[in-house]
Structure formats: structure tokens, C-alpha cells
Symmetry: C2
Subunit: 550 residues, 2 copies
């Protein structure tokens, strides 16, 4: 079987220092990869470009929270119950499989296995009795009286549980966005897709908090005529943002705006427009927290359409859960034009009655009662863990209170663009990988956008000569001092050295030749056109800075 | 008790969005902190400044490897056995304590507890029977046939196990350095020092690989006259780098050079020179992998001298262990001027004899035998897990071979500067925190160096006026488009707004006033002098870029 593009790229990635399989000297472990010197640089450049879009353009705040996350947080968020994959074990060869990956039909996934005659992909035994497996890595904090914890499945929860602090930081104004870039973890049953399905991955997430009554975006008007390819799982069609929102293809301006921002970012990062689309989640594939979700999908020759970004309307799901479980005031306020005097019926819980009756749940019930809007008084019931519990009248008093209100409280809704950085990085490599031949040899070029290229400029003395090397080293140093990543290389023919740089995506090569000694000029070679232009040494930094920043 | 500087700083840090206790809405968990919008920016600025020193100045390569680390890696590195704290439990109140923290004398730590009458700091019961506890967070990869893993205690091992790939990337030349910035984990028994003792922390580590016969640094001559304060646990004395190396106070140039680089970096980041020293580790406190170690210590009013950077000579410890355990060729080659023909005695192990005799250890013994220099032949023994095992003559043949050698193989030595980013960040805040009074009110200033300040410029219309706001917003946007972090603020008196910016360390405030409408100028206020200078709007970006880059 000839190598496909994935094999070829991963060979190049390992040979040239982009990506290594992790722990290889100990036999490796599926789902873990290292970024080598060039890969680490490339990944950081992609992340910093993303920051430009979300921090500088969209004014988001960035925070950074731990990867080790308390059980309580992920219990409240629903991940302890919902973050699962249906799994099946082979009794004979002892391997485990994710059901979704070994059956054809996505529908009726629960039933397929037991009903049909599904064979183990490994030893062909019949597979039976699938069961859900939680995909979080678990650990414990401390010793003795230790606490249960998980490695976070998403960075988002770290943002949600700080919402009240961040809302205050933003001077209690909505909408505002908070981003986090960092590691996420997913203990896959048996990852088989290389760098596309990682157990430890890098994500960039934005949680934009909106008043649910106003999911418009202030910059929407500037971009409403931009067009996107939208795929509804049947057909793909081009829509302007405005039309998509008006026709309710996309539910609101906020979702549409962040789809647009995602498109802009991915194109700027070097994704091929022709291998890009947005796909809407069917109702039955939505995550447990999502009301609507669009995936930005990128096409790969081996893997087909890959989900690289999810843009979800998480509504009030997460904040509501955390308010309920923690009892913290995480509401926002919609200010009235002038304060109002309102009569409110309030429930005053009696803990000495609730305690003996409801034991551990009494505290939670107290918080629900205190925050309940009282309409009918004959019968009060609360919902806990899915069960409705009636609260006896002996457990509370009801009082009527006049209150001055400056506004009404509500739980903000969240629009979440969530980016898988590793998948995006892989797709950028694939979309920009060119194989050709030169002088009867294989010749590879990575046409990376200068803004994300790991090395911006190679500095090459034409031949190995002390005078030329001296000038070249000075140029190299001055570029580095200006914060520009360079690679200095004086080994081999100039053609060989250009080839090395083309293969790792370096957009510019500076060559110092004997004329440089006389005229203080050098040539700059452009990777994509192979054109060479002669410029003054003093102008190098400005020329390069100009060309790598756009 | 009045608040000390730590309390005051942490209150400011929470109120203004630098640092929040993690999971606070669920009761929090000691040893975990979140970085808020300003803290996250500050931390990134410190890390990027560090990168300038190690990547641009020292030419190191950066890589990025997983935090989840296979058991085998940390078994080989010695962490499974050695990364422990002596711990004691209180039988009565069920709390656990780190012995080191509750006894006075650091000597004879093993005996103190059982011999002396040490009381529980909590309930005053007598404490007995201390035992070592491994401080790594443990987890499992996969299900069914799962593999044991830990959260990495240091980023270094990810670099060591890729050494052969990185050596090839660097075209097999020594010395060269590899850095990694990322999370490290240490499941402390009971952390009690706030942000100074974290269970999940950020570290920046550099592993510089040297030929053990040549631990000189190419830039040493440029810095040999620089002076450092060195503390040998008895007295502190100022030494030039050259004298310290010549007098063997510091063992080699490489160690001395990275101590100097550490000093330069910390001062550039804003550490107070008067609260800075290097302390040499006593022999009995060296980590299990270290031959010599110097700590860069920073002084804190509450905590005293804090270890913020460790600069260790790890010798060949780690690479040797990984070569032995994995059987991977991780040697470097010292090239001869011309190839040599050498007669070599080589041991050819017989697996069919070794196998039945040594079972699981046979493979490891085979690798050791193959790589052994054969001198005496009457008795061959190998050392495994601390035990010396004699190998019977029936288990191998010895042959003599003529070989062409281009160089000799050796295991590189490693100099490791390892930085605790969170501690450095805290000390920078403490060293630059000024409390004073203004108009009879408390007034706080953070005199952060502009290069690490989270916000570089505040943009303030003098009063709330549409014309002024319009200009101010244009200035704000153009600064952001140039990558400069700004804060736009039109709320409150101008004095109040200056005060807010002084408190978070913003070095410059731009004020747009009514004259700006006529003369296209604004005033720039300097935080530290409070001087105001009037400049043209067109010059703003250059002026600011100039002042924040040095």
C-alpha cells in the first residue's frame, strides 16, 4: 500500500522536529504526542494568532485555571454522568472498543451491538453487552482524607465557576467574553487516529456571556454580508450571515458572529477555503449542555471531514447548575431605568424542620426555597436530582416584603466557540503540504502562512567563508534581537539549504554573498515564488517585519 | 493581628483580577489558584520574557510534551522511589503533616519524630511513625488493560526521553539547550503557604546538554566579570563569575553562566536586587539526580527566603537511567579528527542462557553487556536496581573485533535551570507593591516593569463627552491593532481612574482632553513619576513601543 498524505506528513513531522510520538522509548502510548522544536513554535504561533482575534479584536479577557479539577465542579456540570462513550469489551482478546467506531450506522447506537452480529475488529469474536465508560482521567488530591478529582475535559468549567468574579471585573456589564487556552483531557477507550484523537490535547475556548434577551453582537452589522458554507447534514449551501440568522438557519446573531470570527481566524491561519465548511449538529448528537451547535469542519484526505471547532449555544445550562449546586450568587442584573418598589413574597426556610426531614439535602433545599419565585402558596415543591419533592408547610414561613429593586436578576446565556488546536495544526500542515520533484528528486514544500511559520527567516552565507559568515551571523543576531525566529545554516550547497527550509515552511531565505561585502546588500528569496530580491542590510528588519505580520 | 503584605497583596490580587483561589464556590482546595484576567496576562508576559532569554539569547530549542506521563518514564528517572515527603498522621484528628514543616531542626529529620515529643499542630496529640509518601498525582491511561501513569513532577523528563531526536535535530552538535514551559504537579501532603506551595504549578525549565569533558559556555568570557551574591548556608559574599569558578565555589562555567542568565532575567522581570541571592545546596539536601545545585532565592516579608529557581548539575543521571531502562541509544559522539581503527573486545550475550537464569531482567542485562567496556575478563558483573550480579561465563562469548571508529560515544551531562513561575510572579508583586496615602486615603501602586505589566496603556477621555470618547476609542483601537494591551476607561474622576491604573501596575495613562480636538495631541502620564508629557496622536504608538520593550 502506498503511503498516504498522513503517513508522509507524520514522517516529515518526526524527521524535521514538528511532532514525535510520546514515550516512544518505552513503547509509546496511543493518544499522546510531543511537539518538537518546530511543532512547539508552530503551535504557539497558532495560539497567539487566535489570541489576536479574541483578545485584541473581540476584547475578551483571558484567564488560566488548573487542569486538576474537583469532583464537585464536574458533578455539577454534568460531566460525571454525561461525559461517556458507549464501550464494548471483547471477551476473547481482551481489547476494548468505542461502539461508535466499529458500527456503521450512527442511529440506534445503543441497540445495534446486542441486536446485530457485530464482530471484534481484532479477533472476529461476537461482541456483546456495551456499557458507558466515563472518559475523564481521575485522580486524588492529598492523602488520608483525600478528595476526588479529574483532569478537566474542557477549560470552560474553570471560567464558569469564576463567573461572579469575572462579571465584577467587567464592572457588571454584559455581553463580555472570557477565554482560556490550555490542556484538556479525554481518556479515550482506544484511540486509533493518531494526532486527530488525543487523550491530552490543547484547546482554546471562549465563553461569551450574553443577556438571553439580547443575543445580538455589536459588530454584527460590520460583517452581516459575509458568506459562509453551511451544511445541514443533507446539503451544503452558501448563506450570508444576515440571511442565515433571519431564516433561523443559525439561531442568533451571537452564534453567527462567532462562526464568522472562526472562519476569519482559520483562513488567516492558512486553512484551505475549499476544505472548510460549517456543519450543524443534529438534535440527537448535541452535547448534554448544548441547545445548538455548529462545527467548523476541515477536510483531510485520510480522515474526511474533521470537527476542529465547535460553536455552541450552551444557554444558561452551566451557570444554572453551579448556582444550584454551590449556592453562589452567579446572577447578572438587568438594570431598570429607575429603581422600582416591589412587593415580594419570600419564603423563609426553617432549618430546624428541614434538617431532620431531609438530612444532607436540607442545605440545597434551603437555597432553592430562598431563591424561589412564590406564586401559588398551597403547595411548594422542589426538584433535586431529577426528583420532585414536596416541602411540608411546617418547614417554612412566607412573608411579604417591600423591596427597592434597581434591576432584575437573570442567568446569562453562553455562546462557546471551542477550538481543538492540535487538529487545526494538523489540517494546516495537510492543506499546505506540496509534493513535487526537482532535478529528479522528491521535493517537499510546506506553504505555511508567514504569520504561523515556526522559522521566519533562514540566514545563509552563500559559501563557507569567514567574511560571509561574519556578516550573516550579525544579521542573524539583529533579527533575533527584534524577536524574529531565524535559522542560521552554513552547511551544504545553497540549493540543499533552500530545500531544507522549503520543507519546514520557512517563507524567506536571506543569502549573503561576496557582493554583500561591497554593497551592504543581500538577497531575499521568497519560498512560494522562488523569486530573489536584493535589498540593503539596513532594511532587512523592516522588510521582514512587514511581510510576516499580515 | 494587622494584615501583613501577603494578605494585602492577595486581597488586591483577588479584587483586581490577578489571582483567585480555585474552586472557591465549592469550598476551595489548598494548593490550587486561578489566574484572573490581569494575572494571566502578567504570567504570560513573564514567560515570554523568559523565552527571550533562553530562545533568542541562548539559542535553546523549545518543545512541549504531555503532562500525563507513563509510569515507566518516572520509574526510570527515580521519581517513583525518590519523589517523596516524610509524612506523619495524627491518630486523633486524622490530619496529615509534612514532617519537615512541623519540626524545628532540619537535621536528623527521620529520627526527630519518634524520639522527641512532637505534638500535632492542630489538636496537640503526640505524633508517631512517620512514613514516606510519594508526591505524584497518579492516574490510569485507558480501560481494561490500562496503564499506570502520573502527572509529571517536572517538565524535564519529557525532554530527556526525546534526547536522541533532539540531538539529531541539532545535527549532532553539543552543547545545546532544550526548554519547556508548562504545568508541573506535586500532590503536597497539606500545603499551607498559599500561592508559594502549589499542587499544580507553572514551571519553565531548560536542559542544557554538555560534553562532560567541556562544561565551558561559549559566552562565558563576555560575562565573567559580572558579580553575584553567593550564600553557602553560613555567610553571603559577592563573587565575580570568574573567581567563583576558579575557586571552585561554583563547579563549572556552565553552571555559573546560567546563574548569571537567571540573575539577568529576574532583574529584568522586576525583582529587587536587594532581595535576591544564590544559595548553594548542602550535600544532604540535593535532589536524587543532582551533583551540585544553586537556588536563586527571593526574599518575602512573610515567607523569608523563597527558592524560586534551582540551577542544578544533573550530570549524566537521567540519560544514563533512560538508556539503561529503555535500551535506546541516547549517546552523543565526540568526533575524532580522523577515523581510527581500533581493536575492541565485545561481549556477545547468549539469550538462551540468560533467559532461564535471569527471567525478566535478562533483557536489561543483555543491553548492559553489549554496551560494556571489556577490560578484565575473569569476572563480569552488572549492577541492576542497586544489586551487583555476577554473570556466569556460560552466558556470553567474547570476541575481538577491528572497527573503524569516527568518534567515541559518551553520555552528555545536563545543566538544568528550573524556574517556578508562580513563585517568581508572587515575589515580583511583593517587591513592587507600594503602599502610601493620598488625600488621606490609602493609595496602592504596583511598580511593575512595563515589559511585564498586564496592561501597558490606559486610554482615558478626560470627561464623559462624545467627541473626546470618539478620539479616545480610535487611539485605543490603533494601540490594540499594534498588539499593545490597553484598558479603555471613561468612568469616574480622572484621579480615580489614575489610581485604578496605578494599583494594577499600568505604566502609562493617555488622557484625551478638549485641546486634543484642536491640536491632535494627548498627554501621557508616567506611573512612577506622575509626570505628564504632551505628544502628537500620530506619535503615540512609537513612543509606547519604545518604552515597553526595554
Amino acid at each position: 500500500m502506498p503511503l498516504d498524505i498522513y503517513d508522509k506528513l507524520m514522517m516529515l513531522a518526526k524527521r524535521r522536529g514538528f511532532i514525535y510520538p510520546s514515550f516512544e522509548i518505552y513503547g509509546g502510548s496511543a493518544g499522546f504526542y510531543d511537539y518538537g522544536p518546530l511543532g512547539s513554535r508552530l503551535k504557539q504561533n497558532i495560539e497567539n494568532l487566535w489570541r489576536k482575534f479574541y483578545i485584541l479584536k473581540d476584547n475578551c479577557l483571558e484567564i488560566s485555571t488548573p487542569t486538576v479539577t474537583l469532583f464537585e465542579v464536574l458533578k455539577a456540570s454534568g460531566h460525571v454522568e454525561e461525559f461517556t462513550d458507549l464501550t464494548v469489551d471483547c471477551k476473547k482478546c481482551k481489547q476494548s472498543f468505542k461502539v461508535e467506531e466499529i458500527i456503521e450506522e450512527k442511529d440506534s447506537i445503543e441497540n445495534t451491538i446486542d441486536k446485530d452480529n457485530i464482530k471484534c475488529p481484532n479477533c472476529r469474536s461476537k461482541l456483546m453487552n456495551p456499557y458507558p465508560v466515563n472518559l475523564m482521567f481521575s485522580t486524588k488530591i492529598g492523602f488520608g482524607k483525600s478528595r476526588d478529582a479529574f483532569l478537566r475535559p474542557e477549560t470552560a468549567q474553570g471560567i464558569f465557576i469564576d463567573f461572579h468574579l469575572l462579571y465584577r471585573y467587567n464592572r457588571e456589564k454584559l455581553p463580555f467574553g472570557v477565554i482560556q487556552i490550555g490542556k484538556g483531557y479525554r481518556n479515550e477507550v482506544s484511540p486509533r487516529q493518531g494526532i486527530i484523537r488525543l487523550r491530552e490535547f490543547s484547546m482554546a475556548e471562549a465563553e461569551i456571556f450574553f443577556d438571553p434577551k439580547d443575543k445580538n453582537h455589536q459588530n454584527f452589522d460590520l460583517v452581516k454580508n459575509k458568506e459562509l458554507y453551511l451544511y445541514d447534514n443533507k446539503k451544503e449551501k452558501k448563506y450570508s450571515l444576515e440571511k442565515a440568522v433571519n431564516d433561523k438557519i443559525i439561531n442568533n446573531q451571537a452564534l453567527a458572529y462567532y462562526m464568522h470570527l472562526t472562519h476569519e481566524f482559520l483562513i488567516a491561519a492558512g486553512v484551505d477555503q475549499k476544505k472548510f465548511r460549517f456543519r450543524k449538529h443534529d438534535k440527537n448528537e448535541l452535547a448534554h449542555y448544548a441547545e445548538e451547535c455548529w462545527d467548523a469542519e476541515l477536510y483531510s484526505e485520510r480522515f474526511g471531514w474533521i470537527e476542529c471547532v465547535g460553536i455552541a449555544d450552551r444557554s444558561a445550562y452551566d451557570l444554572k447548575s453551579h448556582i444550584k449546586k454551590s449556592g453562589t450568587d452567579m446572577y447578572a442584573t438587568r438594570k431598570y431605568d429607575k429603581p422600582r418598589i416591589v412587593k415580594n413574597k419570600k419564603i423563609i426556610p426553617k432549618m430546624d424542620e428541614l434538617g431532620p426531614l431531609f438530612k444532607k439535602k436540607a442545605g440545597e433545599i434551603k437555597i432553592i426555597l430562598e431563591n424561589m419565585e412564590v406564586k401559588k402558596l398551597d403547595k411548594i415543591s422542589v426538584k433535586i436530582d431529577g426528583k420532585t419533592i414536596e416541602i411540608p408547610k411546617t418547614c417554612y414561613n412566607v412573608i411579604e416584603k417591600k423591596e427597592k429593586q434597581t434591576g432584575e436578576k437573570f442567568i446569562p446565556h453562553v455562546i462557546e466557540p471551542s477550538y481543538g488546536i492540535d487538529r487545526i495544526l494538523y489540517c494546516i500542515l495537510e492543506h499546505n503540504f506540496i509534493e513535487t520533484r526537482k532535478k529528479d528528486e522528491e521535493y517537499r514544500i510546506l506553504k505555511l502562512n508567514p504569520i504561523i511559520s515556526p522559522i521566519k527567516v533562514a540566514v545563509l552565507p552563500l559559501i563557507n567563508d569567514n567574511d560571509l559568515s561574519k556578516i550573516a551571523k550579525e544579521i542573524d543576531l539583529s533579527l533575533r534581537n527584534s524577536g524574529i525566529e531565524t535559522y542560521y545554516d552554513e552547511g551544504g550547497t545553497i540549493g540543499r539549504r533552500y530545500a531544507r527550509m522549503d520543507e519546514i515552511g520557512t517563507p524567506f531565505c536571506i543569502t549573503v554573498d561576496h557582493d554583500s561585502l561591497e554593497d551592504n546588500s543581500i538577497t531575499i528569496r521568497d519560498r512560494d515564488t522562488t523569486n530573489q530580491v536584493r535589498i540593503k542590510i539596513n532594511d532587512i528588519i523592516n522588510v521582514i517585519l512587514n511581510r510576516i505580520s499580515s
